[in-house]
Symmetry: C2
Subunit: 167 residues, 2 copies
DNA sequence: CTAAATGCAAACCATTTGCAACGGA
DNA sequence: TCCGTTGCAAATGGTTTGCATTTAG
């Protein structure tokens, strides 16, 4: 049994809940992906392996995973809630390409330090922070430079990028 | 006419749209508040002054204000979209108190510089960025500390009373 | 006169909830 | 057995859309 599975089991027992085949499967599929999946993404993957599992159970289990510290909610502003691994994973931030939807993870100790300093200045006790940089990734910039074609509006770009990445 | 109203009018004319009493009123009410209002908040305020204005128009007008560069969308993770002034307002970030909901705006040039440096490192062209720090504000921390202190002195009193009586 | 704007109601869509059947401990 | 769990359908709640009517230019 993996460390994560043990963490989950411990959490479940501590809360007086029950271990079920569905929860095991959902955790298993979640652990096998390294993406920022939405509940729907995960549901589709799980459903492929066991078509009897319902969406509701995926929603409910994701909440449990967050509680257990195994998953972290991330919102990219596309209206969906995404989840990423959170167990023994260092905190990191995201750059999101508004053209292709690609997500780049990055970490900067300086950035963290300054955030903490700003918080301290306001006597604010940090629980969590979220930094999201939206723009155009290197690939899309190159592509654009290559063919300066008819351009969509900013809004349409975000919409189509979102549709591509999450649908 | 305020600068903002001129910006709005110019934007509207550039897009071949029409100036209406509703749009004027919505912009006016928006400019008179300094909060991070949700569409619903703004709707209620507008509705108070002219009950014939519908929610839909507020939603649609807020989008126009964003397009015109007068407003900026901010999502705090409560499921609502909030809007803040964006015209000649310096970019800033937010600390959100998870206890009382208070929002503290702050700005750090260093923070901006490091973000830009991180983006450059990934050859990422920044369009916008969003930083949200969630935690407990100074007031709520003090309130909690006071409570704690009271509980402690209460505890001490019991201890000393017990000590006396058992000596 | 004509295209845009409005307000209402209905539609959307991700997420949540009520509930009867099911299943771990 | 006793509760927690599940999946379905229905509800929710913020936001969007269809449409008939009104209105700015």
């Amino acid at each position: 049994m993996s460390e994560e599975q043990e963490v989950f089991l411990t959490h479940i027992q501590k809360k007086g809940l029950k271990r079920t085949a569905q929860r095991d499967l959902i955790l298993d599929v979640f652990l096998r992906t390294e993406e920022h999946l939405s509940s729907e993404d995960l549901y589709r993957l799980v459903h492929k392996e066991d078509s009897s599992v319902g969406q509701t159970t995926v929603y409910r289990t994701l909440k449990l995973l967050v509680e257990a510290g195994l998953a972290r909610e991330v919102r990219f502003g596309d209206g969906l809630t995404h989840y990423e691994h959170n167990y023994k994973h260092q905190h990191h931030d995201h750059m999101i390409c508004s053209n292709c939807g690609k997500i780049i993870e990055f970490y900067s100790a300086e950035l963290e330090a300054i955030q903490d300093a700003m918080a301290a200045k306001h006597k604010f006790q940090v629980e969590q922070h979220l930094l999201r940089i939206i723009g155009i990734c290197a690939d899309c910039r190159r592509a654009k430079r290559d063919q300066e074609k008819q351009r969509q509006t900013h809004h349409e770009r975000i919409l189509s990028a979102t549709a591509k990445s999450t649908r």
